[in-house]
């Protein structure tokens, strides 16, 4: 059986050195590069020692998925192809992961919804697949615009769910994500989400690790379930398949396995804290007003805080990086001084605000908004104006500006 540690320091067929991930991410020199989010995904994959990537076109992830095809053509990825639909692609990803491969895919909006049946299956089968979700609208009439509603549907699948704010988050988290997902006490899929277009189609300076370093390969035998490759005994696990039995043992088996999946989500907490330096990031949490957000709403929140500061209003910030496992403790602690908790979101239902309300005492402090959706941008001014309204300060309405 492969021992991942023994390959560190050796080279892959592209001449990249398998490098200890901690050293690669934290100690290796970084080169500032000016890239689109899609290009950043490609650069992360170049360093990810990925065995199989399966693609399907849907805006706004098509460019990233095609760029990874170029990586395959260059020899950086073991295998790559276009599947026939997102449902099929996610099953193809599952097949590859069952067979012991490190697997990567990307999707968005309707693609996420089309594939949905696969996600609880992935986590139930303990497949550490990484799926990038470049969120876009899922409503009718058809929309390709940024909108994060699809994340709400992912939260109860048993997948790890992270929400990146910037392209830099994306680059680092793709690589770190495999480290968390592939821990034997976790071994779960990761939905690494970002806000489509805002992150994928804008250029930003991203500090890249050296291109001649790559992750150690995935070791499918460090898994809580056997790899389906006939390299270990084909133990007949059951006399009777539980699906057909209406008895207590069957119910107990299904119940305990679901509990185990969610316990594994919990166990990812310590690894995630280590790799991401916490599930949340905070600034000035002693302020009475606090913006709590995830994704690019965090960036808009930061701008709003700057505008408010100009007017002498002090406001703190909580950036929620990880949605599953849910950082309940951290959010309770960070919001304990706040009188007003503002939750700006890029979706119509306000799923983040609901999660926060269910987590903290005195949840009437949570103001679920401003919310934009359907591709609208969120000018920092609307966050400012919402906060001022809450404080009873009169503002000129945005609409009157023409």
């Amino acid at each position: 059986m492969a021992d991942t540690h023994s390959v560190i320091g050796t080279k892959n067929k592209k001449g990249q050195t398998f490098t200890d991930t901690w050293a690669m991410m934290n100690d290796a020199p970084r080169t500032p590069s000016f890239y689109t989010g899609s290009e950043v995904i490609k650069e992360a994959l170049r360093r990810a020692s990925c065995d199989v990537m399966i693609a399907y076109p849907i805006t706004p992830q098509s460019e990233a998925a095609a760029l990874i095809g170029e990586l395959f053509a260059e020899g950086y990825i073991g295998d790559y192809f276009r599947g026939e639909s997102e449902f099929a692609v996610m099953s193809q990803c599952a097949g590859a992961a069952f067979g012991g491969a490190r697997v990567f895919t990307t999707t968005a909006g309707p693609g996420t919804m089309r594939a949905m049946e696969n996600f609880p299956m992935w986590s139930g089968a303990r497949l550490p697949i990484q799926m990038i979700v470049t969120c876009r609208g899922i409503n009718s009439p058809l929309s390709i615009q940024p909108d994060t509603l699809e994340i709400a549907y992912l939260l109860n699948t048993g997948m790890l769910v992270w929400h990146a704010e910037t392209a830099q988050d994306f680059f680092d988290w793709i690589l770190k994500g495999y480290m968390v997902s592939e821990e034997p006490d976790v071994h779960l899929p990761l939905a690494l989400c970002c806000d489509g277009f805002f992150v994928t189609h804008t250029k930003d300076v991203v500090n890249l690790t050296p291109a001649d370093m790559c992750l150690p390969p995935y070791d499918p035998y460090r898994s809580p379930v056997p790899c389906m490759d006939m390299e270990c005994p084909p133990v007949r696990m059951m006399r009777d398949p539980f699906v057909m039995k209406s008895n207590y043992i069957s119910y107990a088996t299904h119940a305990s396995w679901q509990q185990e999946v969610w316990a594994a989500v919990e166990r990812s907490r310590k690894h995630t804290i280590k790799w991401l330096n916490g599930l949340i990031e905070t600034e000035n949490t002693d302020a009475e007003i606090l913006i709590v957000a995830s994704g690019t709403a965090v960036s808009q929140g930061r701008e709003a805080i700057r505008l408010l500061e100009d007017e002498g209003i002090r406001c703190g910030l909580v950036k929620v990086k990880v949605l599953r496992p849910w950082p309940g403790e951290e959010i309770r602690e960070a919001t304990k001084n706040a009188k007003h908790i503002i939750v700006p979101e890029f979706n119509v239902t306000g799923w983040l605000a609901k999660e926060i309300k269910a987590t903290i005492p005195n949840s009437e402090r949570v103001h679920a908004g401003p919310r934009v959706c359907g591709g609208m941008t969120m000018p920092p001014e609307i966050i400012v104006s919402e906060i001022k309204t809450l404080l009873g300060i009169h503002t000129v309405s945005m609409a009157s500006r023409g």
Partner: protein
């Protein structure tokens, strides 16, 4: 070599289930000329099953598992349906994930195994019901064939959705009255064998499982051709005796009746040119081996 992977530590031998001990003692992993005749003299790769008594699917399973040319390096992919009652008792790695996605799973699996074990044989064999293959999973069935994925697809055609209680399926005969076909099915049995040929399968056979020797031959051919050339498809009639109102003893006769030359399960075969060549090479090698063995035997005598 194959038994190496399943052997039991001496200290733990007595606590292993007896059927596992039997596997180590007398299963035919690694036996080059394994086949249906091993049934009865060796440990089969299937233990008990919870199909209905007399269900022809159980015969089909036994013949197929006895005939896989390389079970020690074969991974099977199933789907939801009556077959999923059996897979937990099958002694080759097998995957159940969802209903209808079996050919998508197999596509990813085969590619992963090719990336991980270059130059080594790892066969992938799909086994699913007609509902899974032809209705809910049809796009994935066909697309895997279009892409020339190198694995074998086997469909247990019982002409209905057995596991959910006998509803209409695409492979059901026209006019058959069933649940969800209250006035009889209104369209013809889907001609998947022909579609398989047009979709790029290199070996297509439709038959019943009445004859173990025939199943041995077609399974071997299908697996070898998919390993070397491209996709292959077997459509096997495994009547659902429960839903067509037959007794446990009547499955075999039902298959014999349906495979007569004028009936819908008359033997049908398609072999592509490259597959024909491969089969000819295999036959020539077999002949050579037999001749050599004969010579050796006569020298010894």
């Amino acid at each position: 070599m194959s038994k190496e992977r399943i052997k039991i530590s001496e200290d733990l031998y007595d606590i292993m289930p007896s059927d596992y001990q039997d596997l180590v003692k007398s299963a035919t992993y690694g036996k080059e000329d394994r086949g249906w005749k091993d049934i009865g003299n060796s440990k089969e790769l299937i233990e008990q099953h919870s199909l209905c008594a007399g269900c022809p699917e159980s015969m089909a399973f036994r013949y197929i598992l006895a005939s896989l040319p390389n079970p020690e390096d074969t991974v099977m992919v199933g789907s939801t349906g009556c077959t999923s009652l059996v897979f937990p008792m099958v002694a080759v790695h097998n995957i159940h994930s969802l209903f209808g996605n079996q050919n998508a799973i197999a596509s990813g699996l085969k590619r992963a195994l090719s990336v991980r074990f270059p130059g080594r044989t790892k066969d992938v064999v799909v086994l699913a019901g007609d509902g899974a293959t032809v209705d809910i999973g049809l796009d994935m069935t066909l697309q895997a064939w279009f892409r020339q994925e190198k694995f074998t697809t086997i469909c247990f055609d019982n002409e209905l959705y057995a596991n959910t209680g006998g509803q209409e399926s695409g492979l059901m005969q026209k006019g058959f009255v069933a649940k969800m076909a209250p006035v009889g099915k209104l369209f013809d049995k889907v001609r998947l064998p022909e579609i398989a040929r047009e979709s790029g399968c290199h070996y297509v056979v439709q038959c019943t499982v009445s004859k173990p020797s025939l199943i041995e031959k077609v399974v071997r051919n299908a697996v070898m051709i998919s390993r070397e050339i491209g996709p292959t498809y077997l459509q096997l009639y495994t009547p659902c005796i429960l839903e067509i109102g037959k007794n446990s003893m009547e499955g075999l006769q039902e298959m014999r009746d349906s495979e007569k030359p004028t009936e819908r399960f008359a033997y049908k075969e398609y072999v592509s040119e490259p597959a024909k060549q491969l089969l000819a090479e295999m036959a020539a090698k077999d002949k050579e081996k037999k001749a050599a063995a004969k010579q050796l035997a006569s020298q010894g005598a």
